[in-house]
């Protein structure tokens, strides 16, 4: 059978990859990194026309299903890796048919959890990862996506102003429904809880996680964080007609959590003495959307919050509260944000995303000011940061790695 390539972004360089060779035997010079650890399927990261692609060898029908699912999730504006294509009809030199390959784009500046732990992290990182995963799971569930295999390994993390944003990487078991039942949500949560505990126990066994941390306790956090967020986003609230400010208050609370309310159901009881409200459609990305509108910067939700705060203080310090918001934002972008982020020498640009760097510089300025007991201009902060801190950071632009054990799905 002839090789069949399905892709939304045709790139002739795809044809040059050695499709007639089983993925595990691909020559090292093609790989973006040597396979670290082991995975359920054979997965390799390859360089192609200046980008990094993840290539997973699986049965064709499963590859097609996952490809379509990832496309759907992207269309629904969910944080999932971008599917790049499917290569099927592969045959080895001796005529043996080979499994199809699913191609996804590597998410720049994303980190597998194992890579994060092997850096030896600040205390509390594990709980920040769980919090990010809880947000991801709530978002997916609100869209009607039942994951079926929630775990740290099936997630990628991006730094987001000191915390993390989680992205879905593996949609193999997922399904989209109009709405999820309570049972489906509970099931996903339970899978998450057990998988996370297992993954943390494994890190401990590998001496990558301190033994004083209790994996079971951390894994329980996914349940409480998820339930808190779910309740805030979906619960019905009832109050007297006189307390109408509570409608605004609820919307504000959701904004603080990073969600916009697209649809709110408001009902009154028969005699009109009480009102009940329930958010019907909420959209993540409240701050990142606002920042995008004002400045054209497309960054993580936490980063956007941080940048918007800085924009606000810029506005106050330049006494421009009455000016048009967009004009001020434009000035902030060209006078503050861009000059700062451009101060990074090219050889250090793979360390951090610009928005994360900006956040770090703001943090650094705060520490400097505390030490010196006086205000520090941001120019001095970036200079000091680039000289003393940034070079010590690991390169994170394209950290790849897979980390579970290969389970053969073909007969020996």
């Amino acid at each position: 059978m002839a090789l069949q390539i399905t892709t939304a972004r045709p790139d002739p360089a795809l044809l040059d990859l050695p499709w007639s060779t089983p993925l595990e035997d691909w020559p090292e010079d093609l790989l973006a990194a040597l396979p670290r650890g082991i995975s359920r399927h054979v997965v390799r990261f390859v360089k192609l026309s200046g980008r990094v692609l993840a290539v997973k060898e699986i049965k064709e029908d499963i590859a097609r299903r996952e490809y379509a699912m990832l496309r759907n999730l992207r269309r629904l504006d969910q944080p999932a890796v971008e599917p790049f294509g499917i290569v099927s009809g592969r045959v080895s030199a001796d005529g043996t048919p080979l499994d199809a390959c699913l191609l996804t784009r590597h998410l720049k500046f994303s980190l597998p959890y194992r890579a994060l732990f092997s850096q030896g992290l600040r205390p509390g990182t594990e709980t920040r990862l769980i919090d990010a995963l809880a947000v991801l799971l709530v978002r997916l569930h609100l869209t009607g996506f039942w994951w079926g295999d929630v775990s740290l390994s099936n997630t990628l993390f991006r730094r987001d102003a000191g915390s993390f944003a989680a992205w879905l990487v593996d949609a193999e078991t997922g399904e989209l429904f109009p709405n999820l039942t309570k049972g489906q949500r509970a099931h996903d949560l339970d899978i998450a809880r057990v998988n996370i505990a297992g993954e943390l126990m494994d890190l401990q066994a590998g001496e990558l996680l301190d033994v004083s941390i209790d994996p079971v306790e951390i894994s329980n956090r996914i349940v409480t964080r998820y339930e808190e967020l779910w309740a805030e986003l979906t619960a019905t609230e009832e109050f007297d007609t006189g307390e109408r400010w509570r409608v605004e208050e609820r919307i504000r609370r959701l904004n603080v959590l990073g969600f916009d309310v697209d649809e709110l159901a408001i009902t009154t009881d028969i005699d009109g003495t009480s009102i009940s409200i329930q958010p019907k459609v909420v959209d993540a990305g409240h701050h990142s959307r606002r920042l995008l509108r004002l400045t054209g910067l497309d960054v993580g939700e936490g980063q956007a919050r941080r940048l918007l705060n800085d924009l606000d203080s810029y506005r106050a310090s330049t006494d421009r509260q009455n000016d048009d918001e967009e004009l001020v934002a434009h000035d902030w972008l060209t006078r503050i944000y861009e000059p700062i982020t451009r101060r990074v020498p090219r050889e250090l640009s793979g360390k951090l995303e610009p928005a994360e760097l900006f956040h770090e510089v703001l943090e650094h300025r705060w520490y400097m000011a505390e030490r010196e007991q006086q205000d520090v201009p941001i120019e001095r902060a970036i200079e000091d940061y680039v000289r003393s801190i940034l070079p010590t950071k690991p390169d994170e632009a394209s950290v790849v790695g897979v980390d579970t054990i290969e389970m053969p799905v073909i007969a020996d």
């Binding site: 650890g37 082991i38 359920r40 699986i58 049965k59 499963i62 079926g148 295999d149 775990s151 390994s153 193999e172 078991t173 109009p178 709405n179 039942t181 309570k182 049972g183 489906q184 509970a186 099931h187 339970d190 899978i191 809880r193 057990v194 998988n195 505990a197 297992g198 993954e199 126990m201 494994d202 890190l203 066994a205 590998g206 079971v216 894994s219 980390d403 579970t404 054990i405 290969e406 389970m407 053969p408 799905v409 073909i410 007969a411 020996d412």
Partner: protein, 400 residues
């Protein structure tokens, strides 16, 4: 056709790709009777007029291996998920033992959903990989070790318990995965197409091994597949569904010998049963040049036509002019015998179960030493003791 699930050597139980589910019963031993009862269980999706599962009634015995089978969209997975607590039940009830679980959350049901996805943790020993979920559930160390050792014995992994998964062969890793499900000792195992990501050869190996393991463990199991061969080779009983409605629930043998209707007759068995619409005649039914005797009682419910079903191995090739005339299209030689694929010469006679794009051939198994040539004409008729008669309108079985 009917392969029995021999109790294969578990040492040669190489490649199970299932995974443990997540619902964790925390209890000592498992003595409760784990019968499962679907009692008029109904699932209607919001916005749909017709139920996806319509008043399902199945009684599953303690320790039984029941397979839910049917084409895509028949409601088999939905039924399983209703039992797991993942789908709401809009009507009727579901029982596990003497507990009404209809409204219980998944983790309170004491069932284990076994998935095809499963990760082994590289730094943990095989024993810890099998037992870690019990640790999460707060089971004490001694009890965990006991259950892990018991499971390891069944899976022939005892000598590997203190090794890392990396040191194991592919097949042994698969067994560790199964072990993770076993140590939970749930009342019921649920499996939804667990073999779907395996290649054909491994699927065949694995299905026998799952069935054999299930019999050793004696845990009530409900298994979903679209593949009738898988259903026939694995299940103690099979429930065939179509359009959300249970068509028949019976042992593989009963299902094969007395299908309840035309759908089951055509679905179960490979190659499929020949189903031909024929006119009713005095004293029986007209089959080509022959009148086949059928008891008057059996025809009482039918109209002027009935559907006659005959399995390829129950077709007799007669003398010229005896029975239904076929033109041979393809001959498939199997050695001892051969399958003949033919088309009725009278093109007014159509086989049931074909579609517009594909005319369904009539299939006959013949003696390998007396195989007709392609293009030749042959005359066939059913072996009258293995003939099935169905109502042409309702599809229901008429013969006994």
């Amino acid at each position: 056709m009917l392969t029995t699930t021999a109790d294969t050597d578990v040492g040669g139980f190489p490649l199970y790709n299932g995974s443990s589910g997540t619902f964790l019963p925390v209890k000592e031993g498992n003595d409760a009777m784990a019968t499962v009862k679907f009692d008029e269980a109904t699932r209607v999706y919001p916005g749909n007029d017709t139920p996806s599962v319509d008043r399902l009634n199945i009684d599953i015995q303690d320790g039984e291996f029941l397979v839910l089978v049917g084409p895509s969209g028949c409601g088999k997975s939905t039924s399983l998920r209703m039992l797991a607590g993942l789908e709401e039940v809009n009507g009727g009830k579901i029982w596990i033992g003497d507990r009404d679980v209809t409204n219980l959350s998944p983790k309170d049901r004491d069932v284990a959903m076994v998935f095809q996805n499963y990760a082994l943790y590289p730094h943990m020993s095989v024993a810890d990989n099998m037992g870690f979920a019990l640790k999460i559930a707060g089971v004490d160390k001694g009890e965990i070790r006991k259950r892990v050792e018991e499971a390891a014995k069944i899976l022939d992994l005892t000598q590997y318990l203190d090794r890392k998964p990396k040191a194991l062969s592919g097949g042994q890793r698969q067994r560790v995965a199964m072990g993770r499900a076993i140590v939970r000792s749930p009342q019921v195992f649920l499996m939804d197409e667990p073999l779907s990501n395996l290649d054909a050869k491994l699927r065949v190996q694995t299905r026998t091994q799952i069935a054999s393991l299930q019999r050793r463990l004696g845990v009530t199991t409900v298994y979903v597949t679209h593949d009738q061969t898988e259903a026939m080779t694995m299940g103690d009983r099979i429930a065939v569904l179509k359009d959300g409605i249970l068509q028949q629930c019976a042992t593989p043998r009963e299902m094969y010998d007395s299908p309840a209707n035309v759908f089951v007759a055509g679905f179960i068995g490979s190659p499929a049963m020949n189903l031909v619409s024929v006119p009713v005649a005095d004293g029986g039914v007209k089959f080509g040049s022959h009148t086949l005797p059928v008891e008057r009682d059996s025809l009482a419910g039918g109209g002027s036509n009935v559907i006659v079903g005959v399995r390829p191995e129950d077709v007799e090739v007669g003398n010229e002019g005896d029975g239904l005339e076929l033109t041979v299209d393809v001959v498939e030689e199997l050695g001892a015998d051969a399958y003949v694929y033919g088309t009725p010469t009278d093109d007014a006679i159509k086989l049931e179960g074909g579609d517009d794009s594909l005319v369904k051939p009539f299939i006959a198994r013949v003696d390998g030493r007396r195989v007709p040539m392609k293009g030749e004409k042959i005359w066939v008729q059913p072996n009258s003791s293995h003939m099935h008669v169905f109502n042409a309108e309702s599809g229901a079985r008429l013969s006994h």
